[in-house]
């Protein structure tokens, strides 16, 4: 069969994720030390797992309401009030989704008409542009810079706004840079958006992982809640990646439309995960705090270590990545990653996988034990020495 002519042109034109090839190569090698994954190394806290076991034993595992278990939506509302001081009505303004990923998908599909422009702060997670393109929208990257600690500035935003701009995707704390936006950083952004019809998709999946102060959501700022869709989830904060559970919060007229997409493509999010997530939100503060403390130790270690060996690295204040520059090697991001894998069997992710502005950097995850990180740093140091970069 001539699959090429059969399959959707749009899907065929979709770029495969930039690092797939690289990861496939790493997977064929033995003894690779990876700094590549973007999920916690901690196990899901036991109380959450126990709740899931109890649910399996006691309950029928049936569909929940389309927008999610009422009790879970109430817990999400309480959690957000506590964390970001923004109130959402659990009945009409919260949808429980299959991971943050589905929340991003339905938010974009629910907003975009053909040719609408979507501003995507880059470097950032890889899914935004493909989803925008699937929805016939136009992805417009906004490159952030290391000298600004990879924060979005009002000037950069203004330059990209046109009369077709529909949506701004604001992914902070950021994967891959570890950048955060404080209230002071967000205020000028809010000022630019005031009085426009531009919506915001605020991807706050790493909101629990901040190291220099509490996370601030743009929805907290005057006049922003009405235009903001908050995306968050359980994967990173509670080490629940495989449970596939996230949520989105937005004003009722928005969720009323988005829940239709969710209803048709998903029906309802995984029931066992939803029950367990109530436990996560209501009784795991201590476990989250312990994980964040541990991440912070690793973060400080890596920043110092990379700066010392000449891979200059701004101090990331969120998520669990450092994003050092590889300028000292004179190599491109991909060249660096391929050689490092070949020669030292250490896998890191090329920065340009997260947008062109990530060229010249690599993403290093610290969702690994200190022992593992120290071993990897030793090997990277050897690599730099061999290539005359130190």
């Amino acid at each position: 069969m001539d699959y090429e002519s059969i399959l959707s042109k749009r899907v065929q034109n979709m770029k495969p994720s930039g690092i797939r090839k690289f990861f496939d190569l790493a997977a064929t090698m033995d003894g690779v030390i990876s700094l590549g994954v973007g999920e916690p190394d901690f196990s899901t806290p036991w109380s959450i797992r126990k709740e899931a076991i109890d649910v399996l034993e006691r309950r029928k595992i049936v569909y929940t309401a389309n927008s999610g278990l009422a009790q879970l939506r109430e817990s999400v509302a309480k959690y957000l009030t506590k964390k970001i001081h923004v109130d959402y009505n659990p009945e009409h303004e919260i949808i429980i989704t299959v991971g943050g990923s589905e929340a991003i998908d339905i938010a974009i599909r629910g907003l975009i008409n053909p040719k609408d422009e979507v501003l995507i702060v880059e470097p950032s997670f890889v899914c935004y542009s493909p989803i925008v393109e699937m929805a016939s929208g136009v992805a417009v990257p906004i490159a952030t810079k290391q000298e600004n600690k990879f924060k979005l500035t009002a000037q950069e935003l203004k330059e990209k706004i046109t009369d077709k701009t529909k949506l701004l995707i604001l992914p902070f704390p950021n994967n891959p840079t570890g950048a955060i936006m404080t209230r002071e950083d967000l205020e000028p952004i809010a000022e630019v958006l005031h009085g426009t019809d531009i919506m915001i998709l605020s991807d706050e999946i790493y909101s629990e992982m901040t190291y220099t102060g509490k996370h601030c959501s743009i929805a907290e700022l005057d006049g922003m809640r009405e235009r903001t869709i908050i995306v968050n989830g359980f994967s990173k904060a509670f080490a629940m990646t495989g449970w596939r559970l996230g949520y989105l919060c937005a004003p009722a007229p928005v969720t009323e439309q988005l829940v239709k997409i969710h209803q048709y493509i998903i029906m309802s999010s995984p029931t066992i995960s939803q029950y367990a997530a109530i436990t996560a939100l209501e009784s795991c503060d201590h476990e989250v705090e312990r994980m964040v403390k541990e991440y912070n130790i690793r973060r400080r270690y890596l920043v110092e270590a990379f700066n010392r060996i000449g891979m200059t690295c701004f101090s990331p204040e969120g998520a669990f990545y450092v994003f050092p520059s590889i300028q000292c090697t004179g190599m491109s991001s991909e060249e660096f990653c391929e050689k490092l894998l070949e020669e030292e069997k250490v896998a890191v992710v090329p920065g340009n996988a997260f947008g062109e502005s990530g060229e010249g950097f690599v993403r290093i995850s610290y969702a690994y034990s200190l022992r593992h990180l120290m071993e990897a740093v030793g090997k990277i140091t050897k690599f730099l020495e061999r290539h005359g970069a130190i």
Partner: protein, 158 residues
Amino acid sequence: MNELLHLLKTNARLTNAQLADMLGKTEQEISTEIQRLESKGVIRGYTAIINEELTKTTEVEALIELRVTPKKDCGFDDIAKTIMMYDEVESVCLMSGMYDLALTVKGESLKDVAMFVSQRLSAMEGVLATATHFVLKRYKEKGIFIEDDEFDERSLVW
């Protein structure tokens, strides 16, 4: 707990430079703090966690439960302190529950340990009863897996 102690408990061989990086302090501050903790007696020592099965040692280890009569005025301290003087005794803890003291004892052979219990411990004044449990295999010690490295189930996705 103090983050420095937490790190040293997971790996006592971290250098002062590494500890300084991890805790956002200078090497000098770390070295001063460690000296302070040592001189105050907070840090009592540093040790290694060893998989004995990979060494040539034939030592055996036993967990011993002891029921004893507390002494007037000094409770269990007196007998615990006497017991801990034996080189064979690795650890001594006062317990709540069915028995009073829990010891770990090491010896060259099963017989060695058995003799120590019957001749030294049982004979001691105030000891009412003993129960000896030999350690057959050690899986985890001080948070560290003895045989296997933890397997990373995560695949390279993102």
